[in-house]
Amino acid sequence: MNFVYDRLLGGKNGAIGVAILAALIFIVLPLSLDLFRLNLVGKYLTYAFAAVSLVLLWGYGGILSLGQGVFFGLGGYCMAMFLKLESSDPISTKIQSTPGIPDFMDWNQITQLPLFWQPFNSFGFTLLAVVLVPSIFALIIGFSMFKRRVGGVYFAIITQAIALILTVLIVGQQGYTGGINGITDLRTLHGWDIREDSAKYILYFINAILLFTVVFIGRYILTSKFGRLLLAMRDKEDRVRFSGYDVANFKIFIFCVSAVISSIGGAMFTLQVGFMSPSFVGIVPSIEMVIFAAVGGRMSLIGAIYGTLLVNFGKTTFSESFPELWLFLMGGLFIGVVMFFPNGLAGIWEKHGKKMVACISRLQCYNVAKTLIENWRATRLNTAEK
C-alpha cells in the first residue's frame, strides 16, 4: 500500500493532483459534454500520451525529440492497417478490380496485398506491433546516436529530419500507405462497430484508463533510482559517466519508453477518430506535442495532460472563430512559455497556486485581513487625533 501511495501517486500532493484530474476526465467531462465534444477530448487525450512521453524524455532526460509524431504515427498506422484490412473484406470490396485489398491499393493498380501488410490481419500481432515497431525504431535511432554521444540540438535536428523523411515517404508511396489522405474509412474491430455512440464512450474510457496507467508507469520510473540518474544525466552528463554508468544505455531506454507511450496514443487516436493520415506524423505535429508538454510543464506528468487539453481547446475555439489570430497566439505561447514560464502551468502552480490554496485552507487570509483592518483603524485613529 505504501508503495502505491508513495511511489505511484507521489504522496499527498501527488494523490490529490491525480484525483482531481481523474475526476475531471472520468466524471466531469463525460457528464457535461455531448458525445461530439467528448470524442474531441478523447482525441486530445491521445496527444497527451505524446506530451507525457516528452515529459519523461525532455523534461527529465534533457533529450529534446522533435520526432514524437513519428512514433505517434507508427502506432496509429499499425492500428489503422489492421482496421483497414478488416473493413476491406472480399464482400464489401467486390466492386474493385481486386477484391479483398484496401481501396487505395486498388486505385493504385496494386493487385496483391504487400508482404508487410499481411501480418496485420491478426489483432494480436497488431497490438504487439504497436509496442514493438516504435521501440525497435527508437532502439535503432537511439543506439546509433547516443552511443556516439550525439545529443542536444543535433539530436533534435536529426529526429526532425526523420519526421520529414517518414512523412515524405508515406505521402509518396500512395499505393502502400494511402498517401496524403491516409488510411480512412475504418469501421469495425472484430465486428464491433467503432463508429457507434456506445463504442465511442467505451473507447474514451479505455483511452483515459491507459493514459493514467502511463502516468503511473512514468511516476514509477521517475521515482526509481533510474529516475534520479536521468535527472543527474540531464544536469551533468559527464559526472554520471565518470561515476561508471553507461549513459547511452539509459538514454536509449528512456527514448524507447517514450516512443512506446507515444505509439499507444497514436493507436488510440486511430480507434477514436477513425482514420490516420501523414498530417499527424510530420514536423508540425511533432513540435506541437513539445509545446503541449511545455505549456503544461515539462517537469510534470499531470501538467502535460492539462497543457495538452488547454492548448487544444484553445486551438479549436480560436481556429473556429478567429483563424487569423490562432497562429499569432500559438507563436506567442511558444515564446512566452519558453521565456517566462519554463516550467509551464505546473511551475506556476508550484510557485503561486499552492500558496494561495494553503493560505485559504489555513485561514491565514482571515488573519492577514484582520491585521490589515486593525492597522487601517489604527492609522485612522491617529489621523483623527491629530
Binding site: W58, L64, S144, M145, R148, R149, V150, G152, V153, Y154, A156, I157, I158, Q160, A161, I162, L164, I165, V168, L169, V171, G172, I283, I287, V290, I291, A294, E324, L327, F328, M330, G331, G332, L333, F334, I335, V337, V338, M339, P342
Partner: protein, 307 residues
C-alpha cells in the same frame, strides 16, 4: 538507366546539374547564415526560413513600387532589391536577437522552441499582409530566358545569375570571417567564448551583429529565390529542414564544409529526381545524410571547439 544513350545521359546530367545549382545556391545562401549563427552561438534559428521570406517579400514590394512609380527603372531595381532585402532581414534579425534570443543563450534547446514560435508569428504576418496566395516580383528581362549551350542542353540564365550572386556573397562572407578584424573576433568567440570576453571582445555585441548578418544573408537568399520560384507564407519553412541538414552535414562553423554539403545535397536530390520520383529522391538524400551523420556526428568538416 539502360534506355538512355550516353549522349542523352550527359545532357540529362548537365541539365539536372544546372537545376541543382539553383537549389544549391538557395540552400547555400540560407545555410551560410545559419552556419555562422549556429557555429558561433549554438543557437538553432527555426525562423531562418521566414527571414528568407522577408527578403523575398521585400523584393516583391520593391518591384511593385518600382512598376508603379518609376517604370523606367525596372531593369535595374533588382540590384537594389538585393541590398534592401539584406538590410530589412538583417534589421529584423537584430531586433529578434535583442528581444528574444539573447535571453536564451544558456538554454539552446529553448531557443529552438522560441524561434519556432517566432516563425509561426512571421508566417501568419505574411499571410495577413500579402495574402495566402503566392506572389512573384516582376523580373527584369535580362534575368529571364535560357542560354543554348548545345542542342540538347539549355542553361537558364536566372540560375546562372543566382549562382553568381551566391559566389559573390560566399566570397564576401569568407573575406569578412577570415580577413577582417571583426571576423577574427567572431572566430575567437566560436573557439572560446569566455577567454574572448576576458581579452576585451564585446561578445554580446558581436553575437547580435552576427545574428543580424546571418538573417541578412537569409534575406539575400530570399531575393535570389524570387528569380526561381514564387513566394508564399510557408516558403521559408519548406526549406528549413534541408538547410539544417546542410549545416549539420557540413560540420558547424566550417565554411568549406557548408559549401561542400550544400553542393552534395542539392546535386544528389536534383539528379536523382530525374530518374526516380521526387519524393523518393528526397527520402534517399535525407536518409543518406542521417545515416552518415549517425556514423560521423561532427559532420564532414569540423573545427575543434572548446565547449
Amino acid at each position: 538507366m539502360g534506355e538512355y544513350t550516353s549522349q542523352e545521359l550527359i545532357s540529362i546530367f548537365a541539365m539536372q546539374g544546372f537545376a541543382g545549382i539553383s537549389l544549391f545556391s538557395v540552400l547555400l545562401l540560407m545555410a551560410l547564415g545559419l552556419a555562422i549563427i549556429f557555429g558561433q552561438m549554438g543557437v538553432i534559428n527555426m525562423a531562418h526560413g521566414e527571414f528568407m521570406a522577408v527578403g523575398a517579400y521585400t523584393t516583391y514590394i520593391l518591384s511593385v513600387a518600382c512598376e508603379e512609380y518609376v517604370p523606367g527603372f525596372l531593369p535595374y531595381y533588382f540590384v537594389f532589391a538585393i541590398i534592401a532585402s539584406f538590410i530589412v532581414a538583417g534589421f529584423l534579425g537584430y531586433l529578434a536577437e535583442y528581444a528574444l534570443i539573447r535571453h536564451l543563450y544558456k538554454r539552446p534547446l529553448d531557443t529552438l522552441l522560441a524561434t519556432w514560435g517566432l516563425s509561426l508569428i512571421m508566417q501568419q504576418a505574411f499571410r495577413s499582409i500579402f495574402g495566402a496566395r503566392e506572389v512573384s516580383p516582376i523580373l527584369p528581362d535580362w534575368i529571364i530566358g535560357a542560354y543554348h549551350a548545345t542542342e540538347t542542353i539549355d542553361i537558364p540564365i536566372n540560375g546562372l545569375f543566382v549562382l553568381g550572386l551566391t559566389v559573390v556573397i560566399t566570397l564576401g562572407v569568407y573575406l569578412l570571417m577570415f580577413k577582417s578584424n571583426w571576423g577574427l573576433r567572431v572566430r575567437a568567440i566560436t573557439q572560446n567564448r569566455i577567454m574572448s570576453g576576458a581579452v576585451g571582445i564585446n561578445t554580446k555585441m558581436v553575437d547580435r551583429l552576427t545574428f543580424a548578418l546571418g538573417c541578412g544573408i537569409a534575406g539575400v537568399a530570399g531575393a535570389a529565390f524570387t528569380t526561381i520560384a514564387s513566394t508564399g507564407p510557408t516558403t521559408g519553412s519548406a526549406y528549413i529542414v534541408d538547410t539544417f541538414m546542410v549545416v549539420v552535414f557540413g560540420g558547424a562553423a566550417s565554411l568549406f564544409g557548408t559549401i561542400a554539403s550544400a553542393f552534395t545535397i542539392a546535386q544528389a536530390q536534383s539528379i536523382l529526381e530525374f530518374f526516380i520520383s521526387g519524393s523518393i529522391a528526397k527520402v534517399i538524400t535525407l536518409l543518406t545524410i542521417v545515416v552518415i551523420l549517425m556514423m560521423r556526428p561532427e559532420g564532414l568538416f569540423s573545427i575543434k571547439v572548446r565547449k
